[in-house]
Symmetry: C2
Subunit: 260 residues, 2 copies
């Protein structure tokens, strides 16, 4: 039976891999990576190949989900590595790979890494234990605009809790939702739901490129963020609940569009 090591690359570039992850990667018989669930800085894979001195086969969604490329590699090789951006077990697709590998009798080791789930709260200066359920804001498809993300935000806010909103990534179509898009979608959702609890004046935190040297955090109203250029993806958004004074002090440093 083989051993699968699932290695997280973190949220910035190839230098987000841990020393332990790099050691495993160097010694593996076969190495794969996927970037349809999340992205790293451009050129990271080429530089990682140079860093570890080996080829890494890039897999698209079809190879991972339908063709089971990793499981078939485990039948041929003793030591297989699978690389993902962020934490290697945060996406359901990755848990499926782990489950299938374990059920086939292979050993699965996990080398965790930085993930937007933890990093976003930290970047914004907000306390983890005050977050409610996380939601994802999807691109509207034609007239279809589900309001469930906003309902989760409102449910959390009612209890004083912050909400981390992940923004849709459709890597295969080159589409990465921006803070601008997300603010516009939230305002639309509020209209559709007929609520006044969220409106263009609601203060939110836009975060771009968390964990990179050019990370940007902006604390502003939904409408102010509609005209703020947050730069390259990936972006995410936090809708804060009740703020502790230290959280307020930190957000103040990230406030934009302040008058005077």
């Amino acid at each position: 039976m083989g051993r699968l090591t699932m290695i997280g690359l973190g949220i910035s570039d190839e230098r987000g891999i841990s020393i332990e992850g790099l050691e495993r990667l160097k010694g593996a018989d076969a190495a794969f990576a996927e970037f349809f669930t999340s992205i790293l800085t451009e050129g990271s894979m080429e530089r990682l190949e140079a860093l570890c001195g080996r080829r890494i086969e890039m897999l698209d969604r079809k190879c991972v989900e339908d063709e089971d490329r990793i499981l078939s590699s485990l039948r041929e090789h003793e030591d297989v590595c699978f690389l993902t951006a962020g934490d290697p077990l945060a996406a359901t697709t990755h848990q499926e790979i782990r489950l299938r590998s374990l059920k086939a009798g292979h050993r699965v080791d996990v080398i965790h890494s930085a993930s937007i789930y933890t990093a976003a709260a930290g970047a914004a200066g907000l306390q983890h234990y005050k977050f409610g359920r996380t939601t994802t804001i999807p691109f509207p498809e034609g007239d279809y605009l589900p309001t469930s993300p906003l309902e989760i935000i409102l449910e959390n806010r009612e209890r004083g809790l912050h909400t981390l909103c992940l923004l849709d990534i459709q890597a295969d179509r080159g589409r990465y939702m921006t803070v601008h898009d997300a603010c516009s979608v939230l305002i639309q959702m509020a209209g559709k739901l007929g609520t006044e609890k969220i409106d263009p004046t609601t203060m939110v935190v836009g975060i771009a490129r968390a964990g990179r040297n050019d990370a940007k955090v902006a604390f502003a109203s939904l409408s102010a963020l509609l005209s703020e250029d947050m730069g390259d993806p990936p972006h995410c958004l936090i809708v804060p609940g009740r703020l502790h004074f230290m959280e307020e002090e930190m957000l103040d440093l990230f406030r934009i569009g302040r008058s005077g």
Copy 2:
């Protein structure tokens, strides 16, 4: 003005540091670390000093919170690194250091890392967006037993959500709460609260040493976990809400005390 780089070491040992973190550490004028909020495998610091070829000054809670050792170092040096276990911004103490440094006019860079906040859910095979608010289970002090952690668990469960329970760490007293302790405390809390929604038959997930090669995940009733040896700390616990079939399939692999 100086630059503070806050570097996470992840959740296993010194090899959890990223390539980027190691590069920064090697080039810094001064380097500090603290391990009162979280721990790594024994000997990690000595091995990290060997790895980066420099001294790292260990700070206790007093040096960090009262004496502001880091801020005074930033007045003397241009390039200061501060190392923590887990993600460098997950603890409130670390956010305070960041806030004070930013307010003093220094630049603060953050090199995120694996954190129990993300890793625990992944290790258990549970989906992140189905977690409600996180809680911490404290050691009972004499007769004092707050029931708020259980209230958070019940609130999450009512909405079908999982709860991550961090377990008390009192590093200065060498006390690390175990899954065994936590199960016992939860049963006591249920008695005090007079609820039957949580009882000794409630199924929970015990996790020990998440992210290490000897990580252990155990899916069992609160009472069964009372007699399960989970080994060395750190431990944490997840009280699941409604399970998706894939989550169930994964937890089945971690089930202990199964009859037949």
